[in-house]
Amino acid sequence: MRVPLRWLSEYVDLVLEPEELARRLTTAGVEVGEIITAGDWQNIVVGEVVKLDKHPNADRLTLPTVDIGGGERRQVVCGAPNIAVGQKIAYAAVGARLLDGHSGDAMVLRKAKIRGVESQGMVCSEKELGLGEAHEGILVLSPEAPVGAPLSEVLGDTVFDFDLTPNRPDLFSIIGIAREVAALTGQKVRDPSIQYEEKGPAVKGRAKVTVADPDLCPRYVGALIEGLKIGPSPDWMQERLTAAGLRPINNIVDITNYVMLEMGQPLHAFDYDRLAEHHIIVRRAEAGEKMELIDGSKHTFTNEMLLITDADRSVAVAGVMGGFDSEVTEDTTAVLLEAANFNGPNIRRTSNALKVRTDASTRFEKGLSQHLPPVAAARAIKLMVDHAGGKAATGVLDKNPGKAKEGRVTVTMERIVRVLGIELSTKRIREILTALGFGARWMPPDRFVVRVPYWRTDVSIADDVIEEIARIEGYDQLPTSQLRGQIPELVPQPRRDLRERVRDALVDAGMQEIITYSLTDLESLRKVLPKEELAAAPPLRVSNPLSRQWEYARTTLRHALLDTLASNLRGDQSLISLFEMARVYLPREDDLPNEVEMAFGVVSGREPDRWGRPTGEPANFYAAKSRLDHVFAALRITADYREATASAYLPGRTAEVFVGGVRVGLIGEVHPRVVESFDIGREVAMFEVDLDALLPHVSEIVHFQPVSAYPAVEEDLAIVVAKDVAAGRALELIRASKLVASASVFDVYSGDPIAAGKKSLAFAISYQAEGKTLSDADVAKERRRIVERLQRELGAELRA
């Protein structure tokens, strides 16, 4: 909402500089988004007439000498009758941009001789400055205007562009802003005049209003103005409309727009003679009903939309836009003026459905006061009488008047203290409320009965009134305090705790955290998920996606990690390891999706050498596994890896991850075809863990194990097994022995002299007993048992 300050100043004295005024308004919740300075005058300054000579060759011209500051004087030729010595005037130097005093066209001031005398510049009229129509005389400035100052500083209009909140429809008007300014600066509001003479015959019998659906139209005021002459509206009105951002059209349309900006009440003028039977009917549309609007757009309506019709056809979409057929034209001589109140949500629904948003609909949808239509109608009638030659009919048609009651709210001092935390004097409270137009009656011993002014549709409970008091007093004036009282009982957050521990462990393992978008496209999902899975459980779709790229709620993060990896490749082999912790959204029947907490990681590139250069082994399955195992170690849990196949992963290099017998994730090298589809061009290993599945197996509590007082015996054991035997299986069999305190693989070998199809596995085993020192014989006996078990279960042979 754009508010030109010169217009605003008609209703309230502006006693503060624009910047300070904007600051106060903003602090009070009426946010000035931008201050725009209008009046782009260059080479025009304040001058003082210091001498006035007669023109030697023309009686009606004078030769004023103008002091333009800095000790400089200019003699100009002037035709204005009102010029006098001592006046402060607007002096334009050669080169200034002005409007031509007669034609109104833009021009650049040139050197000129007028009737034989050179004019060194010009003294300007309002019209030449673009400030108004007056051209009979020069514009006389305030005596305080400083000589030599650029005119824009003295006279330029400033426009406040407000970012208003939807709870205050009353502020979508100049008068509404004026009320705020008055309350904040201790000034009085001057309401615009709504007095006019009713010179025409009674409206009754010559026009009729029927409201068929009063639930959607609580009030409808219709007024008849005849004898109109359509033409341009007065210049001052056109200027104000332009400054406020509206385009002048003709006097009638301009007046309806002017009053809408002035008072916040949208109006509509129908051509009285084009209304069948001079009858306005407000009713719901019939489904499928059609109409062409003023802007030329054609629409079809549903029966939830409210129309304005005459006896034969529809003439407007209520509260949104008028119809093409009943528009005011050059031939119009009489109008039926509509000032109505419509149901806000209904207008909003209609305007959204038709995709037509207008100055009217944005006001109506916020819920205007039902008391406003007659006031705004009177104002518009007055302007039509004054500026369009109109003759107002006697009386107006007013459907459903007086239904809305003025609001009354009781506010106790106790409530004020409870909400604001401090006491304010009754005097100050009354002062603030009165300044805002509220009535405040003190009811001893402890409460105010507050009468809410009709335009404040947003105030209905005590706390609303308390906000009024606080915002005018200024929140910054209130003291601060700290929360006291009981701190609520701790509610454990195991899911979050686990997520943050995993996050830290992954960072610890040298991985970089990324955060990617939760929405994606089907194409990305298809690259990494099996078709059948996508078909069986399609991801949730956004019905109004910002772009096709962000249309589906993701059920995996595989594509996101691979995409991010691809976008960070810089043409070398540097190791990149990324992870992300995020939710996936698994659809459920008729319910919110299951949001599963996941951790995803990718590793790609070569391990760095002693100098940090990527010359080592390309990161593979094991690079991913060491990072994932690092996480499990941090959580003090052990995971089993079982070879498996999974979409997007390379068979033979992929495993399912089990913890406590439950599948918690996947790990593997990414299938070369998938790598290719992401344009990565090098090997990638990836893992994914379902934290919700993992959660039950993670314990915060560490159980202390006594450290054995007896020495351990360390031994190596090498066996030969078939190539497809998993080392983990052998380790399991070794660890099954009670005397084995720990065991690990330290070598895997195939090739000469190991037979083809076989491999050698070497284990480091630590034997230890709880209650004694093991003898060589004890160890030998245990070793024999282990070897027997390995032979029996795996067909292993002891390696010579």
């Binding site: 009070a28 939807p166 929360l483 609520p488 996050r503 991985m511 109004n544 976008s567 960070n568 919110l592």
Partner: protein, 347 residues
């Protein structure tokens, strides 16, 4: 051979050998050769058996004295050799201290995670506990229960991504536009006193530019108890702002509107670039908006089954990206989710 002579010869050869031993290994070899269990001095002492008691005593004493001398000489020599070794390292085997050590992998948290943790830590210190909620929500929690009914103009404040799911002719499911719905979920389940924060991702139907992203991260705060007032809200936010942006920050409040609070406010800090004079960061205003807040609307308390005459509360909400941009001087919000490692590795 007279024992005396033997001792003298042994000493001479031992000392000569000791001089020749130039490293620790040679010294140890020498020690075994002369002083060890099977060494020459022991051998000499064993030879005493054939002597008379008188001689044995004399020679024995001499041998023991020799042992002491050799041990002393050995110790001195060992010391000298070690000193020489250290000297060698110091003089001839210097490390180039400017060379790097072998690289260790370095991981980092995303700057949004880091900022989120700082925010949570600050508010945890004031007794606020984390309570998380779903990112895909019902309209009821995201809007209706927060006093933003269907067709309310305030819905324009939160342009929404709707899930393609219809029930009774309406779309009730959406990507949550703020973390506020979890206020309602928590109030449905708990009784006052309540002091929670809700961190999490939110989504808006919004074109992206340098200051707007369609995916964003918020932290919501809610405190409900007897005796909570606006001054407590101001105090809590002022303390939070100073913890996040420096103790010398000035904190300001202005009236603002959110349907679920009354009175509503916006919290601002004085611009730390220009200290309030006006610059590009603060759009010449001297102030930087950091969050929205207010006293919980009594209707919302009543809907949760709390007595609004007895309980009051406050709520606040902030965008983590905005806080991170201000703290790190990031000029474009789109950096955060483009995940360029050249950006992420700076944090």
């Amino acid at each position: 051979m007279a024992p005396d002579t033997d001792i003298q010869q042994l000493e001479a050869s031992a000392l000569e050998g000791l001089d020749a031993a130039s490293d620790i290994a040679a010294l140890e070899e020498w020690r075994v050769a002369y002083l060890g269990r099977k060494g020459r001095l022991t051998g000499l002492l064993r030879g005493l058996a054939s002597l008379s008691i008188e001689e044995r005593r004399t020679v024995g004493r001499a041998a023991n004295e020799l042992k002491d001398r050799l041990e002393e000489a050995h110790e001195a020599r060992r010391h000298a050799v070690e000193e020489a070794r250290v000297e060698q390292v110091i003089v001839g085997e210097r490390r180039d201290v400017t060379l790097p050590g072998p690289p260790l992998p370095r991981g980092r948290l995303h700057p949004i995670t880091q900022t989120m943790r700082d925010i949570v830590a600050s508010l945890s210190g004031m007794g606020f506990q984390v309570a998380e909620g779903p990112e895909i929500e019902w309209d009821r929690y995201n809007f209706e229960a927060l006093r933003i009914p269907q067709d309310h103009p305030a819905r324009d404040m939160w342009d929404t991504l709707w899930i393609d799911y219809e029930k009774d002719g309406r779309r009730p499911m959406l990507m949550r536009t703020h973390t506020s719905p979890n206020q309602i979920r928590v109030m449905e389940q708990r009784e006052p006193p309540i002091r929670i924060i809700v961190p999490g991702k939110c989504y808006r139907f919004e074109a992206t530019d340098a200051t707007h992203e369609w995916m964003l991260t918020q932290v919501e705060g809610l405190a409900v108890d007897e005796g909570i007032s606006l001054t407590d809200l101001k105090g809590t936010l002022a303390e939070f702002a100073r913890q996040m942006f420096g103790r010398d920050r000035k904190v300001g409040f202005r009236c603002d509107y959110f349907p679920f609070v009354e009175p509503g406010m916006e919290c601002r800090i004085d611009c730390f670039h220009c200290r309030g004079d006006g610059c590009r960061t603060c759009h010449q205003s001297g102030w930087i908006e950091i969050l929205g807040a207010g006293m919980v609307h009594p209707e919302i308390l009543a809907n949760a089954g709390y007595d609004p005459e007895r309980y009051t509360g406050f709520a606040f909400g902030m965008g983590v990206e905005r806080i991170a941009m201000l703290r790190y001087g990031v000029d474009d919000i789109r950096h955060f989710y483009s995940n360029d490692l050249r950006f992420l590795r700076q944090f």
